[in-house]
Amino acid sequence: MGYSSKSPWLIHYDGSSCNGCDIEVLDALTPLYDIERFGIINTGNPKHADIFLVTGSVNHQNIGVVQHIYEQMLEPKVVVACGVCACTGGVFRDCYNVLGGVDKAIPVDVYAPGCAIRPESIIDAVLEGVKVLDAKADRMRRGLPAVDPETAPAVSGSEAGASAAVNLAAKEATN
């Protein structure tokens, strides 16, 4: 276990969620579930965060915000899609303003379904994310890029998502 996975810091952003999953994310931080006992701390600053929890689907208005938060986070970083809307668009996937799951905007490492997601699943998903974080940190120590290009999660689907992937790739190349 690496240093970051012993105390991963979270950042949470609500896509176009109904609030249910956001409240459960906050709930996981409060006394009954208390994920701070695993060393997990909620932060508002993307540069401090290791794990990005996204609830809700992406739409035309917020896709840029989601990508911007993701770009600001430093490697190694992990994205957890919390709730069925973040995974696939869920009950709202047919709505005109919903592009789909978060993987339309940024690469997702862990999918955690549920409507609304239960705090237990969030804890599970975060601990699953910690393993991915470890693997990424390990690759970086060996001088490799954090994400293995062969097993990298795809940014799929819509044009907006595809162009976002191109933007991210271009940005990483210039860095």
Binding site: N19, G20, I23, T30, G44, S57, C95
Partner: protein, 364 residues
């Protein structure tokens, strides 16, 4: 005299669980004007009514918002029942009101916690949320879900909640009430809390009326506007109901109104559980039942955040022509920008919180 600066606030901000963006026009440390920008959570679910039939849409309506989830499902179901001319059994109405008042307690406790977090009282935040788990436990025991209950359907309730469970819920509420006294005492009488809340973000009675504010935000300014006084559903069977009002119009008054509404909600639940009738919980309309062309109905419901308006219109098929919802938060955004004028930048998160914004309701 100094220059004006624009400070962007949100959409991702530690104090906000939900995304909303404000451009704060600031002179020195004072806010001159606040310009909200919304749309980050817009899904367009009113139009989904064309793709889901009127029975299925209850479940979409419940997902308008995760905090007042039950109320939205109820509002939609009640409006559809009125449009179809369906009578639902008394017991179903009672159960709906009981669950709605439980939602109010959980919503207000959640809000009290967020407010405590807003003024930097971390342990109070955690205690409020710990108490709130009692309500979620009741939900889980009686309905199965913690957040999304999915117990409402057009025509009644999907299943009955038996009397033993209801009595058990009341016992849990007794325990909650005992612990809640301590929290209220801190919220309303602690000097450090009062110094953050009193006299901040004042809205007077006339402004509250002219800005069409609703819910505890308006009640804090002395507006006695509460849909429960109309006596719809089982509210009419209450012995006595009077909305809780405070006249100061500042953050403290709004906090006080919500604190007392929790006591009121507990009293309503106990009264209704004591006299709940046993006439079944209704059944779903058969597959032949379809709303007539141009049949329409509306219903007004008092959500934890204030008055919500539901409108449905049929077109002769199993799909509805139109579903329209006006939420309390969209009514209150005008009041929020008014309350933000002239305050210190450090008080901005507090004032945004005291209207109890529910962005996912407002934007749908």
């Amino acid at each position: 005299m100094s220059n004006r600066t624009v400070i962007p606030f949100g959409p991702q901000h530690p104090v906000l669980p939900e995304p909303v963006h404000l451009d704060l026009i600031v002179e020195d440390e004072h806010v001159i004007e606040a310009i909200p920008q919304i749309g980050f959570v817009h899904r367009g679910l009113e139009k989904l009514v064309e793709k889901r039939d009127f029975n299925q849409f209850v479940y979409v309506a419940e997902r308008i918002c995760g905090i007042c989830s039950f109320g939205h499902g109820w509002g939609y179901a009640e409006a559809t029942e009125r449009m179809l001319g369906l009578e639902i059994p008394k017991r179903a109405s009672y159960l709906r009101v009981i669950l709605q008042e439980l939602s109010r307690i959980h919503s207000h406790l959640l809000w009290l916690g967020l407010l405590a977090d807003g003024f930097g009282f971390e342990s109070l935040f955690n205690h409020c949320w710990r108490l709130r788990e009692t309500i979620l436990d009741i939900f889980q025991e009686t309905c199965g879900g913690r957040i999304i209950l999915s117990i409402t359907m057009v025509g009644g309730m999907t299943h009955d909640i038996d009397d033993a469970l209801l009595r058990r819920a009341c016992e849990k509420l007794d325990d909650l009430e005992r612990e809640y006294h301590t929290i209220v005492n801190t919220m309303l009488n602690d000097d450090s809390v009062r110094s953050r809340l009193c006299g901040v973000g004042t809205i007077n009675y006339e402004e509250a009326l002219s800005l069409s504010m609703v819910g505890p935000f308006a009640k804090g300014s002395g507006v006695t506007h509460d849909m429960r006084t109309t006596g719809f559903s089982a509210y009419g069977d209450l012995e006595h109901f009077e909305p809780i009002v405070s006249t100061e119009g500042d953050c403290y008054a709004r906090c006080k109104v919500r604190c007392e509404e929790i006591y009121q909600a507990i009293a309503i639940i106990k009264e209704l559980v004591a006299k709940i009738p046993h006439d079944g919980v209704g059944q779903a309309p058969g597959p032949k039942v379809k709303p007539e062309k141009d049949a329409r109905a509306h219903v007004l419901i008092e959500q934890p955040r204030g008055e919500a308006f539901y409108y449905v219109r049929g077109n002769g098929t199993k799909f509805l022509d139109r579903f329209r919802l006006r939420t309390p938060t969209s009514q209150n955004l005008g009041g929020m920008t008014k309350a933000l004028q002239g305050v210190d930048v450090a008080d901005v998160p507090m004032i945004i919180l005291t209207i109890d914004p529910c962005i996912s309701c407002a934007e749908r």
